[in-house]
């Protein structure tokens, strides 16, 4: 039987609690997620992470459901050791859009939502506590009655306490459920009838339960004294700005022993405002911020080690036996450039025919001499010859091309025979080798190759899910092609790697849609951006090596460009390398790298070295052109600088 694809599951939600535990991998080298999230610290934390960063995985790890699994023997003892009880809540479960519109006043929604959150979160807390008490024999059976009494006092309208069943945590939960049902009915019904919400009786003052109950628990149950009640609110991006203000207010007004860990997408924090005097919550004093994406991107080596450990765990728990992470890369076929070149079908060398075309004004003999000077048996050196020839042509004032080609020829021979580091060839190959290799592939009618695990890790740009998606598709193709991947001695073919990668890339690209924005402007902008960089990268004399990044100085005036760039960054299509704000000119100085997973679309480099700087006119032509011609014109002007005969074209010519 064929083995199941170990990379099929690419998101935490498809894992059960048991699987989250089983597949858990921590960051290597000391600082694990525990040290980052600091679950016993009273300081609230906002955890930001792009789609696929692993945020949900991390948040769920600290939830009671997983604590319980880790401490199967004695959950209570486990909680005491952990020093916290994690109450996990997904904001998407609130279906929060229904607390808006429907011909109701904004203030009505503010009150209703706050009340609803109070009841909602309290149910989750009490459910966890009830489970914990139910699982432990250590507790005094009367404890529930006492808890009921003390907690009842926190309500403005007391819960029923007639029967023994009612005087339990289950009784309280039932009461809360009933309160919630009443709110749901009103909120849902007002839209059907088109009439205003009738009186909703607010049975608990905001914060009284969320902060009050943990206090009661700590007072009445000695085992709970000193532990933190950690509200883990995930998927904050699902809440509207007004609703987030309420969450921020809770953060500001939090009372020990309760505290918060908030999980949100990069774009998810819509505001830092609170309802307390229109002030923002303060980073450092009122909350801490942790950005998973930035962390992974900064810590290159740790990230690499981390994702390899994830791969290893996936493989080995799925019936493969891979000894250690260093062996992983060997499962991928990675032929050398000359091996790839030797397999090509097309025999045309486009770099030479193209050059001939550019020289057509010159006498025939001269052209033949130049071509013969630059021709060389090693294809990579031949392409390097052409590259250097253009470089010298561009620099040269006299444009004595015969002299230039002769110099290139000599330098090439010297480099070939001695590998002398003073040669131009050595210097150029040192800097531009990847670019020249890719140009060669293109000129020989070959695709640009992105091969091997290390390449894919680099392309994932600090987003673990992207790596898993790439591997999922590559595994599928490899398995389909009968290669039996990840078994000793077998290697995933170039073909399977390229095909799998393409599917991952297509998925990411096709998802680039901005909610609310009309038309496909985001994708169109991204396509023009990619084409711009692609044309520069494959010009005769590229302005930079390893092009995949660009910088812009952008004034707020270009509203749409700013909007699209922000969107692309927040959804990780562009990775922000740096940002500076020039207050005087009201401009932002931004540097972005195109996400590595998009590189194959425009044959870009996956490395970030040279940065193409774009003028404001170019940015406008890319992201908000009035016509497609505007873009083509900007591109042509720019390309003329880097392509022989290197004359600056006049704008009027196009």
């Amino acid at each position: 039987m064929k083995a199941a694809n170990p990379f099929n599951i690419t998101k935490a939600v498809d894992y059960s609690d048991e699987e989250i535990n089983k597949f858990w991998v921590d960051i290597p080298g000391g600082q694990g997620f525990h040290d980052i999230v600091k679950p016993t610290s009273a300081m609230p934390m906002i955890i930001l992470g792009g789609k696929g960063s692993g945020k949900t995985h991390i948040m769920r790890f600290f939830s009671y459901s997983l604590q319980k699994l880790r401490h199967k023997e004695s959950p209570l003892q486990g909680i005491i050791e952990d020093g916290y009880l994690g109450v996990y809540m997904r904001c998407s479960g609130l279906n929060s859009n229904r607390f808006a519109g429907k011909q109701q006043e904004k203030d009505t929604w503010k009150v209703v939502f706050a009340y609803y959150m109070e009841i909602w979160l309290t149910q989750l807390l009490l459910n966890n506590v009830k489970q914990l008490l139910g699982n432990c024999s250590e507790f005094d059976p009367n404890i529930e009655v006492q808890l009921h009494e003390r907690i009842s006092n926190l309500f403005d309208v007391a819960p029923p306490s007639e029967t023994p069943e009612e005087k339990t945590l289950a009784g309280l939960i039932k009461f809360l459920r009933e309160l919630q049902r009443k709110v749901d009915f009103e909120v849902n019904n007002c839209a059907i009838t088109g009439k205003p919400i009738k009186e909703i009786e607010i049975s608990a003052t905001s914060g009284n339960l969320i902060f009050g109950i943990p206090k009661v628990l700590a007072e009445l149950i000695p085992e709970f004294s000193g532990i933190k009640f950690l509200y883990l609110l995930d998927e904050l991006e699902n809440l509207s700005e007004e609703q987030q203000k309420y969450i921020n207010t809770l953060i500001r007004e939090k009372e020990d022993p309760a505290t918060f860990r908030i999980g949100s997408r990069l774009y998810g924090m819509k505001t830092y405002m609170t309802f307390s005097g229109g002030e923002e919550i303060k980073n450092g004093s009122e909350y801490e911020m942790y950005n998973i994406d930035e962390f992974f991107r900064e810590k290159d080596a740790e990230y690499k080690e981390f994702v390899k450990a994830v791969c290893l765990k996936r493989l080995n728990t799925n019936g493969f036996s891979v000894k250690d992470a260093t062996a992983l890369d060997s499962f991928f076929e990675k032929p050398s450039i000359s091996e790839l070149v030797s397999k090509r079908i097309k025999k045309e060398k486009r770099h030479l025919t193209k050059l001939k075309g550019k020289l057509k004004v010159k006498p025939k003999e001269e052209v033949s001499k130049i071509i013969s000077d630059l021709s060389f048996e090693d294809p990579l050196l031949e392409r390097t010859n052409v590259f250097i020839f253009y470089r010298l042509w561009k620099k040269s004032k006299t444009a004595d091309l015969l002299q230039i080609s002769n110099n290139v020829k000599e330098d090439c021979l010297k480099f070939h025979n001695t590998k002398d580091s003073s040669t131009e060839h050595h210097k150029i190959l040192d800097k531009y080798k990847n670019d020249i290799r890719d140009q060669l592939c293109r000129d020989l009618g070959l695709p640009i190759y992105y091969l091997g695990l290390d390449t894919y890790i680099k392309m994932s740009c600090g987003i673990p899910r992207h790596l898993l998606i790439i591997l999922k598709h590559i595994y599928r193709w490899s398995s389909f092609n009968g290669e039996d991947p990840f078994r000793v001695g077998n290697r995933v073919s170039v073909n399977s790697q390229q095909k799998g990668l393409k599917e991952a890339t297509d998925w990411f690209f096709n998802d680039a849609r901005m909610p609310g924005l009309k038309g496909n402007e985001v994708q169109a902008g991204l396509i023009r951006m990619g084409r711009f960089l692609q044309d520069l990268r494959f010009s005769d004399q590229p302005p930079e090596c390893s092009i995949s990044s660009f910088s812009v100085k952008l004034s707020v005036m270009y509203e749409k460009s700013n909007l699209i760039l922000d969107f692309l960054e927040k959804y990780s299509y562009l990775v922000k390398v740096s940002e500076r704000r020039d207050k005087n000119s009201n401009r932002r100085d931004l540097t972005f790298q195109v996400n590595g997973l998009l590189s194959p679309i425009w044959e870009l480099s996956i490395h970030r070295r040279g940065i193409v700087s774009l003028s404001e006119i170019e940015v406008k032509a890319i992201f908000e052109p009035e016509t497609e011609q505007e873009f083509n014109k900007a591109l042509s002007i720019r390309k003329a600088k880097y392509n022989a005969p290197f004359s600056i074209q006049q704008p009027g010519l196009f």
Partner: protein, 323 residues
């Protein structure tokens, strides 16, 4: 409840529907041949066109109406509830106790869902729903249906009483051709287990394959990490594309079975497939889901294509009773 005992009738040729006679015929206007042909050929004392704001028709594009016909144009652009409510409030005396047929072919899904919920609340008695099958979709599997996505939200009137506990949330997607919309809803309730309900038998023989080709594009979001989720009965329900009653029955059976395994914490229903199936989802909702932790959700867009199909193949009448 056995949904399959409801009455349905198939017309091989749409011209044959003239054998039926109604007091009132209601249809939502769009440019599809099937919507206009049925409107023209059905026999009714009164015929009403409802113009939905989402199609963005301008005054000059409105259809001409004769005697005994009414063109209902919304007064302000609201949500799915406001247009439907406004229409029925204005025409209430024509509805109660009358012999009514509603062509749901041109309705947008959220409006249809609200409509069914509303008719249920009003207890309007017997209503015939009509649905006409297209010959094919305009560009087959590449047909565009919607664009300019806004948000996923619950459909008005179909917002449940949900459970804060989300550990066993389930979402059933009536997976149609519009793969981006499947992705959108799947992402919105990322934590829910996804079940896809596919139209099988499909309306025409090739449409099942076209459907799979598209639904597979949303695999990363909706595929539950399975290689072959479409042939796995634990993640896929097959229901006839033109049978609301069997669709409702299969939904009901599936949910009951799941609840027996581990109780579903929250259930989300999202019909993105044919209108006949959308009616099936709605019937299941109003019969078994009201006031439970169940909602109908939908990916709302700015733009709904006015003509997505060509030709007219068969016409179906489904008789629903709202008591």
């Amino acid at each position: 409840m056995d949904y399959t005992i409801f009455y349905k009738k198939k017309y091989e040729n749409h011209l044959d529907i003239s054998d039926r006679d109604y007091d009132l015929f209601i249809s939502a206007y769009n440019k599809s041949e099937r919507v206009n042909e049925v409107y023209k050929n059905i026999s009714a004392n009164e015929k009403h066109w409802i113009v939905l704001p989402e199609y963005n028709f301008t005054d000059v594009e409105f259809p001409a109406v004769d005697d005994g016909e009414l063109l209902f144009i919304y007064t302000n652009i609201g949500d799915e509830a406001s247009v439907v409510r406004e229409y029925f409030e204005e025409n209430s005396e024509k509805i109660q106790g009358q012999n009514i047929c509603i062509d749901m072919t041109g309705f947008l899904r959220p409006h249809l869902m609200f409509l069914v919920r509303y008719l249920g609340l009003m207890k309007v008695g017997k209503v015939d729903f009509l649905y006409s099958d297209p010959d094919s979709y305009k560009d087959r599997e590449d047909t565009t249906f919607t664009s300019d996505y806004i948000e996923v939200r619950q459909v008005i009137g179909c917002e449940g009483n949900h459970n804060p506990e989300t550990s066993n949330d389930l979402m059933i997607i009536g997976a149609g051709y519009d793969a981006q919309r499947i992705s959108d809803v799947a992402k919105n309730k990322a934590s829910a287990r996804k079940i896809q309900l596919l139209g099988f038998p499909s309306l025409r023989p090739d449409m099942y394959q076209e459907n799979i080709l598209n639904a597979n594009k949303a695999e990363e979001e909706a595929g539950m990490g399975k290689e072959d989720s479409f042939s796995d009965p634990s993640t896929t329900i097959l229901a006839p594309a033109n049978d609301p009653f069997v669709t409702a029955q299969l939904l009901s059976d599936f949910v009951k079975k799941e609840n027996k395994k581990v109780e579903i914490s929250n259930l989300y229903l999202c019909p993105l497939s044919t209108k006949a199936q959308t009616l099936g989802f709605s019937l299941f909702y109003i019969s078994e889901c009201i006031d439970k932790a169940v909602s109908m959700i939908f990916p709302f867009c700015h733009n709904y294509e006015r003509q997505t199909s060509t030709g007219i193949s068969k016409v179906w009448i489904y008789t629903v009773e709202f008591y």
